[in-house]
Symmetry: C2
Subunit: 156 residues, 2 copies
């Protein structure tokens, strides 16, 4: 995947966590995702379409997801409930929206988020994409963002 597609998602994630959650992320090393082994219990997915097609996934542990919802809502959810699902979907939405703003040349639109919960879920991307894994650490726990775009990305 092209670096020009990757950096906006690194910046967007850092920026969304800073502004929406008052939480500083420290970046780990981006890596190619070589398998689809589970990462964390909660994943927010959102599609991007335009001159290229992509999917962004933000994955967090259960406690991190609940903590993020607590900060966003100013009230602690007592379980992995609808409020947490909405909060994780909204984080995915904001990250995709912030990245899109840096990728105007691809004329991207952001889809509807969905949120996967499950202790051993894995997320696979199609063979024609090479998803990149962006690991982050923070005071509320580790966070992982995966970005995959179809290979037929046009030159611009």
């Amino acid at each position: 995947m092209k670096v020009e597609l990757l950096n906006p998602f690194l910046d967007a994630t850092t920026s969304v966590f800073r502004t929406m959650l008052s939480c500083e992320l420290s970046r780990g090393q981006p890596t190619l995702k070589r398998n689809h082994s589970p990462e964390y219990e909660v994943s927010g997915l959102i599609g991007l379409t335009g001159k290229c097609q992509g999917m962004v996934v933000i994955s967090l542990g259960r406690d991190t997801a609940i903590k993020a919802a607590e900060i966003l809502l100013d009230e602690r959810p007592d379980s992995l409930n609808k409020d947490v699902i909405d909060a994780v979907g909204e984080l995915a939405n904001m990250i995709a929206g912030a990245a899109k703003a840096q990728l105007v040349q691809f004329e991207l639109s952001v889809g509807l988020p969905s949120v996967i919960c499950g202790k051993n879920h894995s997320i696979g991307f199609p063979s024609n994409s090479t998803p990149i894994l962006l690991p982050f650490d923070s005071e509320i726990g580790p966070v992982c963002v995966e970005v995959g775009f179809a290979e037929n990305v046009p030159e611009n």
Copy 2:
């Protein structure tokens, strides 16, 4: 969710299974999805964006997913491997593409599919959408399609 958005997905699912898998689906009753309890072990997700934002999910059991891949590839995968993930992603892609063709007024683009595997995964949609569950039965097993669109769907 508007019926005009729903019927194209019913038709698209039936049509894709008939033409790609030579498999006749029998339709169950569409219902509002009232919780996010797990349906089946494998789910293919794909986003749709344009004048409205949506997500389509096709869920199948492990054996049904492997059987679908076998029909598509003319070779039986020995496990829930990359071939099965590609096949389920491609089914999601074809269903979204066929539905999009019937929804030209929304100028939809189809995103990159992703495929969730996990015995107890659940898929939640944001509160501003009311996903509809479309259950089907077939000779290769039950199949469920969920369609959610954000509520701010424009009049056309």
